[in-house]
Each structure stands twice: as structure tokens, then as C-alpha cells.
């Protein structure tokens, strides 16, 4: 698309290939390619450079032209619940978020509500120390809702600005685990009106089409207010978010680009569209 070649069927085929390889998915790719082919005919697009602009525009269109930032409202504490399937980067993202809030001068409490996985509480404890956040935890095997409840009580008592609740990874297909998530949510909403103010779904950029069903199911179970797309420092493009934004109306708020505390960025549609075409 940077060359001086012709805008012919071969080029359009390789564009389709790039979209599929980016995990955009068959349906969304077909829609984008139909719109692009119409534009190419109507506007008589001659150069690959122009085609590139058309593509980026269509993608930006599907992603919603505005960027939705992570906001912290008036509530004290502002409660953020973090959910997602196993291994996507929830705990690490929470550490990065806590770090960001601390840099902004906010006080942060973390809830170690993953009481199931080996080493989960220890992992979050180390991060809490590194970022200077308080952590509320129980013993392994404790009721996650009880931990979340205690953390909220503690955050209120200390007048903390932000409470972030770490939950165990869970496959969206496990009904009992999705029920557990609903229970955590119920317990904290009873303790603080409006809580959780933010429920972030963490998705791994290396995941393929399954990310869409993850988003659908988690959204049904626990009203997602934003998505974090992690591991974009790899070679995967995370194109599935185009369908997630377009079909489910969920905003992508943040991206993870590494394993360190400062490896968190606001999602930007223009940069995302740019990265798709290398």
C-alpha cells in the first residue's frame, strides 16, 4: 500500500489478506472490502496511497470516530472491577492502572479477589508494594465476594480515591464462574450505590474470533463499560475489536504494550488503524 503500483484486484486481494491476518474476521472483512471496492469504483481510486486512506477511514468509522478515555468520577472510592478469561493480563493491567492513578496523585486500594489460582494473591501483593497501593486480601480459597466487600469497606474508611478489584480468570462458558462474578458485583453495589463504576474486560490481542464471544458473554453477565486490549507489543493486531466495538458498542479504553508498569496506553483509533497496515 506504500508502493506506486496499480489499484487492481491483486492489490485488493492482498488487502483482504491483511485484514483477515489481523483477526478482523470474515464478516467484518467482507463489509470493509465491499465498502472499499465501492469507493474505488466511485471515486476512481488510482494510487495505493489513496486506497490506504480509504481503508483507514472505513476502519476508523467502524471503531467510532471518538476515543473514549478512562474517566474517574466523583464517587469515593471510584470502583473498577477487572474481568476476563484466564491469562489475558488482568492482574498486570491492574498494576499498570494503579501506577497511573498513583502518578496522578490518587490513593489506590487493590482487592485480591482471585482467591483460587496458585500464587494469585502473592502476585498482586508484589505489585501493590511496587506501586505504593494498599492491598486487601484474605487467605487462599476465601470467598471472592467477601474480599471485594472488605476492600470496599476499607477503601471507604480510608477515603481512598480508587478501588480496583482483581478477579480470577474464568472461561465465559463456565456458568457457575459467571454467577460468581455476578455475586461479587451484587455485593459491592449493595455496599456502595453505583459501584462498580467501571467494569473492564481484558482481552488478549493474540486471541482470535473467540474474543467476540468472550465479550458478548461477559457483557451479558456483568455490564462491561470498557475493554483493555493487551499484548499489542507482540505481532498480533487484535482486529477482532472492530467487531466488538461495532456489534456490541463496547469502547476500547486502554491497550497493554508490555509487561512493565508504564506499558499502558489510551486506545486511539487512528494509531490502531495505522498499525494494521504496518
Amino acid at each position: 500500500l506504500r508502493g506506486a503500483g496499480a489499484v487492481d484486484d491483486d492489490l485488493l486481494d492482498s488487502v483482504e489478506e491483511v485484514l483477515i491476518l489481523a483477526d478482523i474476521g470474515v464478516e467484518a472483512t467482507t463489509r470493509i472490502m465491499d465498502a472499499v471496492r465501492t469507493d474505488v469504483r466511485r471515486k476512481k481510486i488510482k494510487s495505493p496511497g489513496e486506497l490506504r486512506e480509504i481503508l483507514k477511514n472505513h476502519i476508523a468509522e467502524l471503531l467510532g470516530r471518538f476515543n473514549v478515555r478512562l474517566q474517574v468520577g466523583e464517587a469515593r472510592p471510584h470502583v473498577i472491577m477487572v474481568v476476563g478469561v484466564n491469562g489475558v493480563g488482568k492482574t498486570t493491567t491492574i498494576a499498570k492502572l494503579a501506577h497511573r492513578f498513583k502518578e496522578e496523585g490518587k490513593s489506590v486500594v487493590l482487592a485480591a479477589a482471585d482467591t483460587f489460582r496458585a500464587g494469585a494473591i502473592e502476585q498482586l501483593t508484589i505489585w501493590a508494594t511496587r506501586v505504593g497501593a494498599e492491598i486487601v486480601k484474605h487467605q487462599a480459597g476465601a470467598d471472592p465476594a467477601a474480599v471485594a466487600y472488605d476492600a470496599l469497606r476499607a477503601a471507604k474508611a480510608r477515603n481512598a480515591d480508587v478501588l480496583i478489584i482483581d478477579t480470577a480468570g474464568r472461561l465465559h462458558t463456565k456458568v457457575n464462574l459467571m454467577e460468581e462474578l455476578k455475586k461479587i458485583r451484587r455485593v459491592i453495589s449493595r455496599e456502595l450505590d453505583g459501584a462498580p463504576h467501571e467494569t473492564l474486560l481484558v482481552l488478549d490481542a493474540t486471541t482470535g474470533q473467540n474474543a467476540l464471544s468472550q465479550a458478548k458473554t461477559f457483557h451479558q453477565a456483568t455490564e462491561i463499560t470498557g475493554v483493555v486490549l493487551t499484548k499489542l507489543d507482540g505481532t498480533a493486531k487484535g482486529g477482532i475489536i472492530i467487531s466488538i466495538v461495532n456489534l456490541l458498542n463496547l469502547p476500547i479504553k486502554l491497550i497493554g504494550i508490555g509487561e512493565r508498569l508504564h506499558d499502558l496506553r489510551d486506545f486511539r483509533t487512528d494509531l490502531f488503524a495505522e498499525a494494521l497496515f504496518g
Binding site: E17, I20, L21, A22, D23, G25, V26, V85, N86, G87, V88, G89, F116, R117, A118, G119, A120, E122, Q123, T125, I126, W127, G169, L171, H172, T173, D204, T206, T207, G208, Q209, N210, A211, S213, K231, D233, G234, T235, A236, K237, I240, E259
Partner: protein, 293 residues
Amino acid sequence: TLTDRLDGVFRRLTRRGKLTEDNIQEALREVRMALLEADVNYKVVKEFISRVREQAVGEAVMKSLSPSQQVIKVVHDELVRLMGERATDVVRAKKPPTVVLLVGLQGSGKTTTAGKLALLYRETKRCSPLLVAADIYRPAAVDQLVTIGKQIKVPVFEKGTQHDPVDIAREGVSFGRDRGFDPVIVDTAGRLHIDSDLMEELRRIRTAVSPHEILLVADAMTGQDAVNMASQFNEELDLTGVILTKMDGDARGGAALSIREVTAKPIKFVGMGEKLEPLEPFHPERMASRILG
């Protein structure tokens, strides 16, 4: 389902009896879409479809199968053939200990799988596994493996987080050899295939401990990127096999075909849950049906 879509195709096309170039074309378009939706890699799908087209054209439709069933049979059989053999057994070194190295991207399930693999060895071979904690980077990674070891009553060799992972791996294997443990399973830190320093670390670990098994632990829900990471890990380390994790989810698992195609290495086991239970053997026919949806 794919069957419904193919039925629709063959209803529209009037020629019955033989599978011809024409009606095959449309049917294979549906198959191609199904495979892409299942996360099979674009290029792998392209080659797969052209191979299947050759096999399907001219095939007389069997009396007992509808044209769609016939196409599915050709596709399914070719998928099964590509998936490789059903897993036979765990690898045992002639001269113990068997050294197993687990590698892969961040969060794919290596540490959990190390525990499951230890259980599989112990239950099928009645041997004494040793786990080695060579991830010094992820916070509490060592604690995680130590906790897993306690839960399944398998000893864990660890040296905290202040030693070079290569030394930890080497000393862990020596320790295992001296005390008669077999296998010695080395858990490593998750890493990107494009991180040259960390890939070099894996090569150094490999040189230091001469593994009998180098297993890529890959997430069943991986998308198109599966070929990039699998081919890179394979080129750098010459894998002996692959373990697919999180197969208890509803991901179609097309990554299995992509990884198999691009590495030519066997998929040996699958992880079917978070609990510490033995790994299950890989079933090529079940994987083929799952991918086709």
C-alpha cells in the same frame, strides 16, 4: 452449521450425482469461511482448500451421503490426516532423567501445564517428577509453581529470582539426576517470539540441559498470529511437540491446524481445565470436528 450452509449450496446448484468443478467451487467457499471463522490461518486455509478441491472433484457421490456430507467427509478426513497421529505416550529418556522444557507466549498456561504434565507422568509411568522454577521475572511465578507442587505433592526446585534462569535450569536438572527424579520439568517465563534476548535465553537453557522434550504451550483461542509465534519458536528451538491449553472453552481451535501445518510437529496433549489434573491426549478426529464446527 457448515452442513446447513453446504446443504444450501447444493440445493441451489442443479447438478447432482458427481461433485463437479462448479458445485465444488461454491461449497469450498463455505468451507473456507468456516475455517477462517475457526481461526485457521489465512495461508493455511488457502493451501488446504486447493488440496481438498483436487481430492473432491470427480469423486462419485456415495449413495449413503448427500453432496454436502460428501464434501464434509473429504474435508474432515483431510483435516484429520493433517492433525497427525493421536498422542501415543509421554517421552521417556533411555538414560534418566527425562528433561522436559515448556515454552510459549505470556499467559498461555505453561506453569499450570507443568503441574498437569507431572501428574500425567506419575500416573502413567509411576515415576517421580521434579518441577524446576526457571521464571524469575513474573511476580510470584516461583510461588505459583511451589504452591502447585505442594498441591500435587511434587517437589519443586527453585532458587528464588536472583539467579540466571539458565543456571536454575542446569542446577535443577543436576539436582534431579543426583536424586533419581524423572522427569525434570522446567517451567520458563512467558515471552514474545520477537524478543531476541529472551529467545536467546531459551536457546541457552536448551544448550545447558539438553531437553528430550521441548513443548510449545499454546492457547487454543489463539488467532491468525499462531503461525508467526509457532514458526518462530520452532525455528529457534526445534520443538518436539505442542500442548494446546484452555480446550475446555468454546474456541474452535483452528490454531491447532495452523501450528501443525507450519511446524510439522505433533500436538501431543491438551489442557482441559484450571484444576490440576493430568493432561489429556490429543485426539485428531475430535479436533477436526471441532474446527469445522
